[in-house]
């Protein structure tokens, strides 16, 4: 039952992908939903170090509550990945304690805070994803961007490996660049 439900959600997500063909910029809400689906996929292709999640643990996805993606990401809350629940934590501020987070989504809302945050979470096994061009240029793991009405992403393997995260080669192959 759970599986079927899960399957339906995935189908829906995929449906979202393909229901939105070319013009992303024209509909920002739909672009955000697509980005949320990308985030979900990134999580599914990433491996955290052993013991990161305790028994019956959950995957915590953290983001700033003021982020324009917040509403789109809400759809991901409660989904399952690798038999674990995905919890969305919308934080009031990313200055707060980020240690429970497994994934951190940052966008232009926290552009100024990125450097201290980066320092704070340095070497912690937190997958960082951003869609801001500035943040993208300074040490985020997966950088989302839009090119010719298509969402593309770049991966920084140096940071990823430092955080002891493993990314599936399948994902790497799809990246526009891998550093």
């Amino acid at each position: 039952m759970k599986n079927r439900l899960h399957g339906r959600i995935v189908c829906w997500l995929l449906g979202v992908f393909f229901a939105l063909p070319a013009s992303l910029s024209a509909a920002p809400v739909e672009e955000n939903a697509l980005k949320a689906a990308f985030i979900y996929n990134f999580i599914s292709f990433t491996e955290w170090p052993a013991g990161t999640f305790g028994a019956g643990g959950a995957i915590n996805l953290c983001a700033d509550s003021r982020s324009p993606m917040a509403s789109s990401m809400a759809a991901l809350n409660g989904k399952h990945i690798k038999a674990m629940r995905l919890n969305l934590h919308l934080l009031d501020s990313l200055q707060s304690d980020l240690s429970p987070c497994h994934i951190l989504y940052i966008d232009r809302t926290d552009r100024q805070n990125w450097t201290p945050i980066k320092k704070k979470i340095d070497n912690a096994s937190i997958l960082t994803i951003s869609d801001d061009s500035e943040i993208n240029a300074s040490g985020v793991m997966i950088a989302l961007s839009t090119l010719n009405n298509k969402i593309v992403f770049d991966i920084d393997m140096n940071v990823t490996q430092r955080a002891r995260l493993a990314m599936s080669s399948k994902l790497l192959r799809l990246a526009r660049t891998v550093r």
Partner: protein, 634 residues
Amino acid sequence: MKENRFFRFLWRNWENGFSSRFSAGFALLFSSVMMIVFLSLMMRSDMISDRLIQARIIGANSTAVVLFADRDAGKELLSSFAASQSIEVAYLFSGNGELLAEYKEENAPSTGILPEDMRRNGYEFGMQHLRVVQAVTHNGDDIGFVALRFGLRQFYQRLLGYVTMIMVVALAAFFIMKFLLFRMEKLVDKAESHLDYLAHTDPVTQLPNRHAFNKKLAESLEFADQSGSEVGLILLDLDNFKVVNDTMGHQCGDALLHMLSQRLALAARSTDIVCRIGGDEFVVIMNSISKASVDVNSIANRILDVLAEPFRFDVHEFFLTASVGSSLYPTDAEDSETLIRKADTAMYSAKLKGKNAFEIFLPEMDRVAQRRLALESSLRRALERNEMVLHYQPQIDLRSRTIIGVEALMRWDHPEYGLVSPAEFIPVAEESGLIVPLGKWALRTACLQNAGWNDAGLSPIRVAVNLSARQVREPGLMQDIGQILEETGLPPSQLELEITEGIMMENVDSNIQLLHSLQQAGISLSIDDFGTGYSSMAYLKRFPIDQLKIDRSFVNDIHQGGEAIIGAILAMAHSLGLSVVAEGVETEAQLTFLESLGCDVVQGFYFSRPIPADQFLALLRANSKKEPSDWVAG
């Protein structure tokens, strides 16, 4: 009939090799086909499992592509995999059936995979293509499908290669087998024809044997039926061949038979078939004769003529004689068995007529033969029915003119035929083996009789009993004689056994042994019918005999030119220390002549014919009172 022959021909050919070649070829073909089927099934399943694995690899690598709907990456992925294998067409579908990426080999026919067929994992092995569908799963969910179409050209090429190889190997095996089979068949044929030769040929003379004779005769009769001609059968039995074999050895006997067969072949016409059907029995089948009896007559006489020439082996010369009988088909008989029997009857009749003679079958011979059969069957019961009696003929010492002995002679008083001549029933008894019990009975009766005369107070005389060939061959003879003498109480010196020359010479070594033991027992021995048979002077000395009996034919020839022989026999016997009995003395003149030459004992009608025991007793009584000179013809 014709059809039947045709089928038989077919069947024989089928049996002779065709079937074996065919079945071996069929077995090879069958095994080749089975191998090809097995191989293709194996190759097919190998190919399917290979392609399924390939599809699974592509599917596993496609998860991210499907999830991110990255068409470029999908296309790249498909072509990278497709390059390596015989993939003609490859598709990557998303979960809702949308084509994400496709790959097509150059010139690949576009017929192919419908998305509707592609929803399920599996494969479809078609005539030209193998289609494989593999679900793309991620985290346990089906998120899309990889659909692949493989061309089967390579598969068929390889299969064709294997098939060609198997067929070539099978063909080579077939030809090798055919060659081996051919050689084996030749060997078998050779062995068969050799066996056939052995089965149908007499090894000594190289003539057809009895088995072959039966076949050839049947063929001749069949031919005679068809052409309306006649077949003559000449049966030839050597009279004295056994003696040659026994005295000179088998090597000599075989050489003589070989010479004889060559002479027979010369005597016969080219169309005649000469066969050896027994140890000393030959037969000539005369095909398609015109004036039957004349032809048969001339050939039979030619046979007797070629036999008359002496046969030379080593330094010896042999004279072979034969009794020849003939019969005609279809005059005398309607089947081969009867034909042979009639020729045999004729031959037998020739033998009875004194051997070395030729007889054509005549119907009355059959009557004679039937009488013989009847005689034989009643002879079997003659002893039980007390039909046998002994008659006694006195033997008179010429010097004392007294009866010194008596010869016991068998007589058969048949209730139907009356008195049957010994000349008729003795041969029957000899042949049937009845002579053994008859001879034993005669011996016992004669001994008992003589003992009775002793008991009656008459001066002791010797009783002579004839031994037949069969009796001499019986291993228990010596024992029987001893037992009879013991039972009857007759002194052995009062028993004399008569054996003919022929019997004596039959088996020289064992006879010498027998005669020695008889002599040691005190029994006298005399050679009967001396001068008529085949005697070796050397053996006369070796055999422990007491007496010779001159055959009646010589006594009969006295005053007709036979005196010299009697003189010679007497001189020889006396110088060897043997006494001589002359048989068949019928006239005073003969008696005077024999007396003048110093003959010891005489026997014959001049004194008395064979008479019953009571009459002989009277004669004996009268004799003991009379002077010897009172003897006159009875």
